[in-house]
């Protein structure tokens, strides 16, 4: 009966989840670093969308370009300033430093923009799909997110630059000896990864009309981590597909638990996600979609 609309809205939200996780997955695949500051870059993207909309009336898809540029610059700086100097000292050091960086970014955001929840609504009409009114903005966001995921995958497969990234993922020393500048690949991957994460934050605002806040990033780090592991860390299309799956599970889980009415549905949806993660880790630790 009412399942189809929930499924559809799950797919749409999942597409955005998939997009936000691409960057996490790319950074892990290339640099072998879990970007635990992930959520803070999602948050920066969300604020970019908010301010560009209320100050200059920019539609979020235009802001996405700006957010990509900002994210790329920040990603490059994070590589040069944090990951590169600490990598020799060990992964744990990088992890701790990124965690601290994430917290620092959130605190700076609070100082600059205050602790309150803000948001905006970009209304460009809606269409009826399977008996469900869907905002065109959300639908367009989902389609664009898919397009970005596919283009990134194509970039990795078809260009020399993309192949050099794949080579570093598969064997960094092998990449070095065939003449790839591995340091440059690291820097570029951090830049692209965080750029896409920031763009994901912009897209996310289409779904959270009052949910922008300096500390909003935390859950997205968590969800991003679940998605990236489900998809097989380092596998981009895997991450995207796992994002879709998670969106659907979240939406259907929410539906099921609202009908059942015995628990807080959104918390239970989160429970479902982690239960799935646990099952995957137990039975297919390389992820659902690893080639």
């Amino acid at each position: 009966m009412d399942v189809i609309p929930y499924f559809l809205s799950g797919l749409i939200l999942g597409s955005i989840y998939g997009l936000t996780t691409l960057g996490l997955s790319l950074i892990f695949g290339v640099l072998r670093v879990v970007n635990v500051a992930h959520g803070s870059f999602v948050m920066l993207g969300a604020y970019a969308a908010y301010f560009a909309f209320i100050l200059w009336a920019w539609p979020p898809f235009a802001t996405a370009l700006l957010a990509f540029a900002i994210g790329a610059l920040l990603g490059y700086l994070v590589y040069i300033g944090v990951i590169k100097p600490l990598n020799k000292a060990g992964e744990l050091n990088v992890l701790v430093a990124l965690f601290a960086l994430g917290a620092l970014i959130a605190e700076i955001a609070r100082l600059l923009w205050g602790p309150d929840f803000v948001g905006y609504r970009w209304n460009i009409g809606s269409v009826e799909v399977a008996g469900l009114q869907i905002d065109i903005s959300k639908l367009a966001g989902a389609v664009l997110a898919l397009a970005i995921a596919l283009s990134l995958d194509l970039l990795l497969r078809r260009t020399y630059f993309g192949r050099s990234i794949r080579a570093v993922v598969q064997d960094p020393v092998g990449a070095m000896v065939v003449g790839i500048n591995v340091d440059r690949v690291f820097a570029a991957s951090a830049a692209i990864g965080i750029a896409i994460t920031t763009v994901g934050g912009v897209f996310l605002t289409l779904f959270i009309p009052v949910g922008i806040n300096p500390y909003m990033g935390g859950p997205y780090t968590l969800i991003g981590f679940v998605i990236a592991v489900l998809g097989g860390l380092g596998s981009l299309l895997g991450a995207y597909t796992a994002g879709l799956l998670l969106g659907v599970i979240e939406s259907l889980g929410f539906y099921a638990f609202s009908v059942a009415g015995f628990a807080e549905p959104s918390e239970m949806a989160l429970f479902l996600e982690f239960a799935l993660l646990l099952l995957v880790l137990l039975f297919k630790p390389t992820g659902l979609f690893k080639l």
């Binding site: 020399y160 794949r166 020393v173 000896v177 003449g179």
Partner: protein, 234 residues
């Protein structure tokens, strides 16, 4: 001289492995570097390639100082390494691995000719071109590792223990192939299979505990008492 090492020292962290190694690789020759496990043979090749940082001494490539040149620039200058452990890209096909070997600008321009050249050298690789590298047999992977290094059109090829883990018949085929490479380039060959290496070498060095302890033409080394006892088992 295609490649010369002058008093080269290096190591890992604080552990010094190489203590002032000097050796010369003339143009169009096969030079072998022999020695027991842990002597520092692989470390020598990693250091020449620039993957391991040299501590002291100099590396000259065709007479030009290349001591501090990073690996990707060395490939551009004409140095290629078939590393210990092969270091293939396991999820890529044979042909994709070969194309990665031609990553540098210089090699990219001639990639089709070079591909034909390595397929002619290793027909097996042509048959397997669509197979994923990670699923190939040890011997096939070794061929692919050599072929991938050749794709960069090197002037000096460094090969680390191509015989490791391979059946004797495959080893002798592989060594015949290496010998043919001499027409096009210089080879610095690291080997533990001393008898096989001496057969195709023009000149050899013996490395023990990070120092060159012996050197000479193959027939001189084969006649040396120490080499006979320690490496040839006679």
């Amino acid at each position: 001289m295609a490649l010369s090492l002058q008093q080269l020292s290096s190591g890992y962290g604080r552990l010094q492995v190489l203590f002032g190694i000097s050796l010369e690789v003339p143009a169009k020759s096969i030079i072998s570097l022999l020695g027991p496990n842990g002597a520092g043979k692989s470390t020598t090749l990693w250091t020449v390639m620039g993957v391991v940082r040299p501590w002291e001494g100099r590396i000259l490539l065709e007479g030009t100082d290349a001591t501090r040149v990073p690996p990707h620039r060395k490939v551009e200058l004409g140095l290629a390494l078939v590393p210990e452990g092969r270091r293939l890209f396991p999820e890529m096909t044979v042909e994709e691995n070969l194309l990665m070997g031609a990553f540098t600008k210089r090699a990219r321009e001639k990639v089709h000719d070079t591909l034909e050249f390595v397929y002619a050298l290793f027909p097996r690789l042509r048959e397997r071109r669509r197979q994923r590298a990670g699923t190939m047999s040890g011997g096939e992977q070794q061929m692919l590792a050599i072929a991938r290094a050749l794709m960069s059109r090197p002037k000096v090829l460094l090969i680390d223990e191509p015989s490791a883990g391979l059946a004797p018949k495959i080893v002798s085929d592989l060594f015949q192939t290496v010998k043919r490479l001499k027409e096009e380039m210089s080879v610095l060959l690291v080997e533990q299979n001393v008898a096989a290496a001496l057969e195709i070498s023009d000149y050899s060095y013996v490395l023990e505990n990070g120092r060159i302890v012996l050197q000479g033409r193959p027939e001189e080394l084969a006649a040396n008492e120490h080499v006979k006892k320690a490496y040839l088992g006679v």
